[in-house]
Amino acid sequence: MATNQGKGTIPGVEEGAEEIKTQEMLLNMGPQHPSTHGVLRLVMTLEGETVVDCTPVIGYLHRGIEKILENRPVMGGIRYMDNADYLSPMLNEIAYAGAVEQEMGIEPPRRAQYIRLLVGEMQRIASHLVAVGTYGLDLGAFTPVLWTFRDREGIMSLFEALCGSRFNVNYLRVGGVLHDFPKGWLKECEVFLDQLEKNMAELETLLTGNEIFDARTQGVGYIDPQQAIAFGLTGPMLRASGVNWDLRVNRPYMAYREVPVNMQVRQEGDCFARYRVRMQEIWEGIRLCRVAIDKMPGGPISIRTQIALRPPRGETYFAIESSKGELGIYYISDGGEYPWRAKIRGPSFVNLQILPEILRGHKISDVVAILGSFDLVLGEVDR
């Protein structure tokens, strides 16, 4: 029976306790709901307030990005990658440009690699800030989301100065980046990082250590390491379960070969651990940005490539550590100007599949706490 199946996972309920049977209720959460982070739809079977079963329904934000990529020249496709994970466009572009470079067997100049590291880490910080802020909002705290969006605004402004656009940056190019830094940009960047460090300390006092926040997140939505690996989780979700796997460390790419990253791992495996991993990665990101600024080499920002880029016939898989996890591009070229296929391995999509497994036996309020801790971006799930 579905009910008993669900009961098995409820902690604290004694086995065999006699209960009054009530009718199960079907609750449809989303696609228009304040806390499903976009247009995720959850069809939940409820027993009272306890979730017995849950089915995520996706596809409400499907824009056919992979198909669009097949119909654009390689350089034209980079702009469409912005919209896949719309909270970290810069990282998406790094993945796509990196895949094409790997296919073509070229290596961007050292300066371009460091620029990619710097903007990539800033984008990671921005993405984690949104994740942490909206997580606070999901749990009913109003203030964190406004503070984190204020800080993210600084990153947006820096990106605007760098590439003329706040969000759809279109900054990466195969073989390098589009522009060099404007005058004084790095100085501004350092000022911003100093300010961000102060603001982060303030944010930590607001959420970390708060009794209610602890009570809502600790021990909720536990994922054990085997399960995490079995479901193919990556990114902060995997590292929060105690698995030390970070592509920046384990399979370093571009400038990460020279800049060592301190991997952030937590052993608890619950919502709190996932929140903590993101917070620690923001701190680590600030450090990496400083390192990148200090070590920023001179030289060209891009290598010269043909205008009509024709990657050689063949296929390749290139993955980076995005803010959500392993963002991979499976790139197949038939030797023409257009990719024959560009498959995006979106970490949010893969991370989503563990949701029904975890939700079973939790309360409705926990659904929001757990879903928020996944940090899903539906743009990447549906693509």
Partner: protein, 460 residues
Amino acid sequence: MHIMAVLGDSLGNQLFNGIFSLQFLQFLITFLSYFGFVLTSAIILILAERKIMGWMQDRLGPIHTGPWGLLQTVADVGKLLLKEDIHAGQIDKSVFLLAPAVFMAPVIAAFAVIPFSPYVSLPGTAIATGIIYYVAMSSIDVIGVIMAGWGSNNKYSLIGGLRSAAQMISYELPLVLSLVGVVMLTSVLAGTPGYSGNAGIGSIAIKEIINFQSVSAWPGRGIPFWDFVFKGFTPWAWFFLVQPLMIIIYYICGLAETNRAPFDLPEAESELVAGYVTEYSGMRWALFYLGEYGNMTIVASIATALFLGGWSGPGVAFLTAPGMALGWQILGNILGIIYFVSKAYLLCFVFIWVRSTLPRLRADQLMQFAWLILIPTTLGNVLFTALVFLVLNGAGLPNWAFLIILGVLNWLLLAGFIWVVSRATAATTRRAQAPAIRASRAAAVAGQIPERTTVTSSQR
């Protein structure tokens, strides 16, 4: 004919005398100012909340409508009045339409027992059942919430309504029990030197309780300036000093009663869309919000009256003393209103502060907190107060010694309470159970997946 004429004459006389009597004038002024206060207070609080939360969150809040954004709420209410009143198709119409009124009416009615100054207070403030009347009125609110939840015929509304019912009923108990301590203090103090009333007979009338906090023994007797300041203004005798734990518990219960953060589960936006107000729009929606903010004012006002000395402040009792001229009397009452309202709004500010700081509790944690922590504590306080009085009375100590010793013990209890709560939240929530959950989940999946907890680059 004759009898009728006499009757009519006397009725007319009574009516004439009644209308132009001082009592009627008092009633009229008070009634109008109350009614104005209830509605404007909600509007002011909504604006204040938006402004204060804005500052706390590093943004501006409303700035465009009127000077400094002052007319924002007025404009909002105007808009809501003109909006279409949308009814969803399958609603239970009579219940749905009536719910906002059932929610709003007791809020306005509860103001009847709140005195703002010695003169500006409805006749209800003197009635003997002040606290009970207030508790009764605040309990009726829950019916409006359930009606809204049921009548909307929406699952989110229903869950919100039921959650709210459970929450409001649970928090009603510690709320009442936390006020019992104050009533006990009045019965102890009654009749002793410096206090009014007959020995051993306390009061639950709110106006009386305010009087109990204004001791007639003040320093500087005879020196006009000190007379002016301290007559009727004795902050060292306010009950929050004697029962600090109780005002905090009352305040927490007030947060839950008014469905404010961190107890705003019924309208938990991130889970239940808008809880029981999901299907409402236009003025009916606004009534729920006005009711919520009105409720906030009431909770703050009751806390002010029972724990913070009500209207007492420098000059009030001096200026409103029987022998003073009418102008001084009016000035004294205005001062009293100012003191009362500023104390109440200080507490409302804490409401807003809490809202912008804390996340929301889960439903079961909320109930645990009420039944396992608040109710035992408040019940214990009733016993404790009585016990201390019996012991000290048996030892022959005067009442002021009782107050001081009880106060000291209560402050110690407050520290203990905070310690216990922080320990209890750690123990009762799943933080403590997390290792056990982890172990059971690990055991459940151990057979299915080959054991490999870490993956290193060499293995890959």
